[in-house]
Symmetry: C2
Subunit: 371 residues, 2 copies
């Protein structure tokens, strides 16, 4: 279904805003954090867990799903949502970023990018049209365009080349999508590295096209925090208020705070799930390393202020033990907690905006998650 | 609490019987299969999963728990059940079998066995008394004695030596336990390899001591199936009807069928959980290898006759995909299914005995799981 976005409240001191994103039957409160279910599974959790946690919108990775299970399987099952027994809303990236970051070798061509699978070295090609077709097979509610995400540290020449390619492909993509929207939405991706002029140019051009939403790509890719913040601040005043804004691959509590302060509505990141598997959990008092010796005899929960089922049932000492002996349940219990934390964090963040308390919220959490 | 065992029904054609094993507040229907929670976790599942599956009795491994988290932690938490938030009944082995099978080096002494940890090579010693103390710290409802389990293929001389040691330690153990029963129960372990005379001697001697239950050790340790069945058949007529009988480390569907036919009440095995992680699940039609190419487009459940939440929610094709890409949820979903299967299998086995249909049940399942 075509999305509808409605702004609910705006912070008077910043560009922070809350809103409602409607994707068919699904209503998503923003700002929203989307857990990442790369290959049709949010790592270590089941689809029931995701529903129980209350997530209405998750992310899948087109590059991975294209390689496995592949288009034929997804077509046969009627899309990823049916395949993984997850009935809520789904966003997929275009696969471009993984081609650049995971694939051993890739080569740009006029009409797309050739690459080798990171799994078996087999040869493939993505074009702006083929990644939309793939995302149609996946059946995502929000699809992303194929773009050229130049790595941090690229020359201005390389950034300009990336922008030209990204814009050319974006135009092709939106035209291809409009021929058969089929209830799915397509977002563009603003590029330009940490160059404010190029970022402004990219935003201006892409907002002139009829994309239902705007994504910022190429941020949180290794640049210093000040650069990250500077670019967000430079773009915030020019973001179209009518459309949802998505900051791709972000992030940490700190990065989300900066994003929201600069008008971002949507986030996704593997950190809450990956860190959980590595034994780092998020709490109302900051980050906790579960493997620390100091937790060996802790009979209390991970976070006494958390009411997730993990904190209600298990002690920190037990979860530490599970991590120390590498039990699989260590990964699932810690992941469950972190995704519960992220959901609560985003909910309270949204409420702070609606209560005109975002400034206090921002200061409180920035201090807790400073390091 | 001291156990109470009550025979409920007996098959007229075999030694199969059903019963009720009461461990304090917990009532366990027998024959029973106990999932293995080696290090305080049934691998890939949470304690809630175990309760949801309906298991009243699970197994922990003393050797592993002694090394990690260790006695101090278990004492501090008030035992393993509180540590892992599992309120039902618990059985622990003595750790002896793991000393012989896992530990790099071990050496018998008059009063116990010295060994090196398989984790860090550190030196330790188990005695009949120390393993009971450790199991008191674990807080198991059923403890096992330290025994000498000679490997399959041992000479008669070695088997006799093992029997002497096992019997001597058993007598010490039961005396040590009786000084402070503390609501826990202690089972002896019958040894003797595949030598019928030694097995008979062992059973006769150990049944003369006041153990609340009798276990058979040293079976399903590599001997051919015929030897396994021959020993069970030789012991069945002499098993004390008043006490529960536990066949350690067994088993497969086939091995359980033979065990029950020969009067066994209790079983434990890592196979249902380990095989699940390796992609093999049990169904009403036999074993299924989840990784098979033939399941790629299977939209139906693992087992259409199974009503577990995995079969009610996910397709075989999806679970195959999760295994192929090694998602952690592949392990937990498959394990959940297999433990559900084992629970249903044991329940229907018990009902077949109570309905005087065990012969038909035995033939049906033996055929399905022959290979």
């Amino acid at each position: 279904m075509p999305l509808r976005f409605q702004s609910v409240a705006s912070d008077k001191q910043s560009f922070a805003r809350s809103g409602k994103l409607r994707l068919g039957e699904i209503e998503v409160n923003t700002p929203v954090f989307m857990p990442v279910g790369t290959r049709g599974s949010v790592k270590s959790l089941s689809s029931e867990d995701i529903l129980e946690l209350g997530y209405q919108l998750i992310l899948g990775n087109t590059y991975h799903l294209y390689l496995k299970p592949g288009k034929e399987v997804l077509d046969h099952f009627g899309g990823l949502k049916k395949f993984m027994a997850y009935p809520n809303a789904l966003l997929t990236d275009s696969g471009g970023f993984q081609v650049f970051s995971l694939s051993g070798l890739f080569k740009f061509e006029e009409d797309g990018v050739r690459f080798q699978s990171h799994i078996d070295g087999s040869h493939h090609k993505f074009t702006p049209e083929s990644v939309i077709d793939m995302q149609r097979s996946i059946g995502s509610d929000i699809m992303m365009v194929l773009d050229d995400c130049a790595p941090y540290g690229s020359s201005v020449e390389r950034l300009k080349q990336a922008l030209d390619r990204t814009h050319r492909w974006a135009k092709q993509s939106v035209e291809y999508w409009q021929k058969n929207e089929n209830g799915q939405n397509l977002f563009c991706i603003v590029q330009g590295g940490v160059n404010e002029a190029l970022r402004a140019e990219s935003l201006h051009y892409l907002q002139s096209l009829p994309f239902p939403g705007i994504a910022l790509g190429g941020l949180s890719v290794g640049e210093p925090r000040e650069e990250y913040v500077r670019i967000l601040e430079s773009l915030a005043p020019s973001l179209d208020p009518a459309r949802p804004r998505y900051l791709m691959g972000v992030g940490t509590v700190l990065d989300i705070l900066e994003g929201v302060r600069n008008g971002i509505d949507m986030f996704d990141c593997v950190l809450p799930t990956r860190n959980a598997r590595n034994g780092q959990v998020f709490t109302s008092k900051g980050k906790v390393n579960l493997r620390n010796e100091s937790h060996r005899l802790s009979t209390g929960p991970i976070d006494p202020e958390c009411s997730c089922k993990v904190c209600k049932t298990y002690s920190l000492g037990y979860i530490r033990h599970l991590h120390k002996v590498k039990e699989l349940s260590a990964f699932s219990l810690s992941t469950y907690h972190n995704l519960y934390f992220m959901k609560q964090f985003m909910d309270s963040l949204r409420i702070s905006i609606e209560n005109q308390e975002f400034g206090t919220f921002y200061t409180h959490w920035k201090k807790l998650y400073a390091s």
